[in-house]
């Protein structure tokens, strides 16, 4: 359960952005959670709602976009959203693939008050 540590990092980022933009608080935040990022979205949301109190995110709307694993094949140049965790191009069966999305967690957008 490292979702608490992730939320801590997220809240710190929000505080920095509020300060940099001379805003008062965060009304809404949008995050992108890759399915291979190692974070359980449900737990992340619970952790966020627990720890946002008395921070700039108190009352903020939390939008999570779950990002499927996406690969680009270096052989046939096809981009695929994988349904199964199998790092292999479904079109040409090549293992020479580049991950283009779905392994990281991003703060995408903030709506500031």
């Amino acid at each position: 359960m490292h979702e608490y540590s992730i939320v801590q990092a997220l809240l710190e980022q929000c505080e920095d952005h509020v300060k940099d933009n001379n805003a008062q608080s965060v009304a809404k935040l949008v995050v992108k959670i890759g399915i291979m990022s190692g974070v359980e979205p449900h737990l992340l949301e619970t952790a966020f709602n627990t720890f946002k109190e008395h921070t700039v995110c108190d009352g903020a709307e939390f939008i999570m976009n779950i990002q499927p694993l996406t690969i680009l094949c270096n052989q046939c140049d096809t981009s695929t959203e994988l349904k199964e965790i199998y790092y292999c191009c479904p079109h040409c069966q090549s293992l020479d693939v580049k991950v283009t999305d779905g392994e990281d967690m991003y703060l995408m957008q903030l709506e500031l008050d």
């Binding site: 490292h2 965790i85 967690m105 903030l110 500031l112």
Partner: protein, 252 residues
Amino acid sequence: MCKDCGCSITDHVHEHEDSHEHHKAHETLHHNPQLNDKKTIDVITKILDKNDQEAGHNRSHFNANGVLAINLMSSPGSGKTTLLEEMYDIADFKYGVIEGDLETSRDADRLKAKGIKAYQIQTGSACHLDAFMVHKGLHAMELDTIDVCFIENVGNLVCPASYDVGSHLNIVLVSIPEGEDKIAKYPVMFRQADLILFTKTDLLPHFVYDMKREKEEARKIKPNVDILEVNIKDTASIQKVADWIKFKMEMR
């Protein structure tokens, strides 16, 4: 709310379309930051951005001292500390260990008893090491006296996978008694592995364990991963791990 135009200023009248007063009110609304509407900004930053920066800083430290840093990860009890104890007499490179555990300094004590330089980080309730914790350990380690620095992470197949601690390589252990399907069940962890060690292979006769299938699972997640089998009673199997590390040292 103003019925004529829908703006939120109540104290103005619409005499005609572009009345001076309405105009003035709008000016106040839109140019006074205190009354301003919400401001949307695109950020697009990794949530663990600060950790990743610190990890990069740790890597620079290791690089500056010519030290290869290896993050050891696995469930509790799969044999990380034992491997480090046993490999010490075999390896022809010097190593130190930054130890992560929730409580106690028993692992560091075990290693020190073998003459290995070890520094214990007690994470309290944290289920993983992050780059900031490792940074502390790094300064307690005499980097100029070692060739390899192991970061023995908290025993956990989930959380440590999300944190770059500044290592160059990740070794993930999985022991036979843990049972089958660990690799398929914890793909994020095994995706991080440069080398997977199947440990306690001397117990294979006592367990239902399809080694071939487990290796196939590993390569679905990480097609180019290296895999070795380790049995602590078989010195040759530990020698292979030391050889792999030595090879990686020479390739840097």
